[in-house]
Subunit: 213 residues, 2 copies
């Protein structure tokens, strides 16, 4: 897709009942109900019931930190900014500090980083998705990044105490989960990330696009 | 709020149980449920159940036209574009073609028009909200606009057969409802409008911002 002189990439997951859900847990599947259709009315109308961590979404401090900020307190400056996509599709299991040191792009203060992994090449990353290990999270914190996104429904798995989430969220780093980055090359882009505005919650479903810069 | 040299205006409604709902119908109130909290777990997690016409949202042809396009088929080019805010806060009841002829901004082909009315100055526009009359919709169609937004939860009320919705949606004009335009002056802006990506439905909850240009 193009918009003027820019290329546009939709990096959001499609929300539908058959979509991938975190660790394939059936209770996390969204439900869409048709309330009114053309058989009985002039109007077609539906509703949705979903976990706030469904599909592409952001996590705020409240997700893991008691008394932490809720997701509606994030500003457009934190969400609509230049970002760097790192190609980590060679990584097995989890991304470490050493993996991040080897990438082609320099990681700098206030960066919003998107991690492209093997998850983007699987229809459903399932239970053994590639994630960000705590040493990778610590490396990002040393550099002072402002946000990090990944192409799985969780930025973390199999780490007791959730150190990746906790360390990043305690420093108010925006976490963006559930990206689709298959066709996106390593490089710099404009991130256009707009979450719903639901009051007082720990996570917000969002739509995300990248624009070429 | 500022972003670089641009002013940023959030024109989205806050989604919460006590928010205004269409014609104050209690069954349209969103429900937020806490699934896990810090009393029992290390993780806070919640879910939402809501009508897809809750708060700021777009309507697609399928809402009123059998076999019409669903809302996920809209492209970023249709949603992320220059827009014109028209100040119609002097209008009582409904906006007619004559009201639109008197506004200070010229309405041109492919315009995305936002209608600022008295609704924006009321905490809850309730059942007698200002709306777009069918003569106003016809005027927009003659000019070939691509989208129209309004600061009520419906662009129409009290018109048998829903002629405003039907005529605009049959020409694939994007309808944007549930805006908050109180602090926005008449003029031109960049609209940043991102709906959720839910497959096959007639409407999508969205977040919308204006940027100064």
């Amino acid at each position: 897709m193009r918009m003027g002189d820019k290329k546009v990439y939709d990096i959001s997951m499609t929300i539908e009942p058959s979509m991938p859900v975190y660790k394939n847990r059936e209770e996390l599947r969204p439900e869409i109900s048709v309330i009114s259709d053309f058989k009985k009315n002039q109007v077609y109308q539906s509703s949705i019931s979903m976990n706030l961590h469904t599909g592409t979404h952001i996590d705020a401090p409240l997700h893991m930190i008691e008394g932490g900020e809720s997701a509606d307190q994030l500003s457009l400056e934190q969400l609509y900014k230049h970002c760097k996509v790192l190609d980590l599709s060679g990584v097995d299991d989890g991304i470490t500090d050493n993996d991040l040191k080897k990438t082609g792009l320099k990681i700098e203060e206030d960066d919003f980083i998107l991690l492209k992994t093997r998850n983007s090449f699987r229809d459903n990353p399932g239970e053994d998705f590639i994630f960000l290990k705590s040493s990778g999270a610590d490396y990002f914190l040393e550099r002072g990044i402002s946000g990090v996104g990944i192409d799985s429904l969780g930025i973390e798995r199999a780490q007791p105490g959730h150190p990746t989430h906790r360390s990043l969220l305690s420093k108010r780093v925006v976490l963006l989960e559930g990206l689709r980055l298959k066709g996106i090359e390593e490089g710099e882009y404009q991130l256009v990330l707009l979450p719903l505005k639901i009051k007082g919650v720990e996570a917000l479903p969002a739509r995300a696009f990248l624009l070429s810069i």
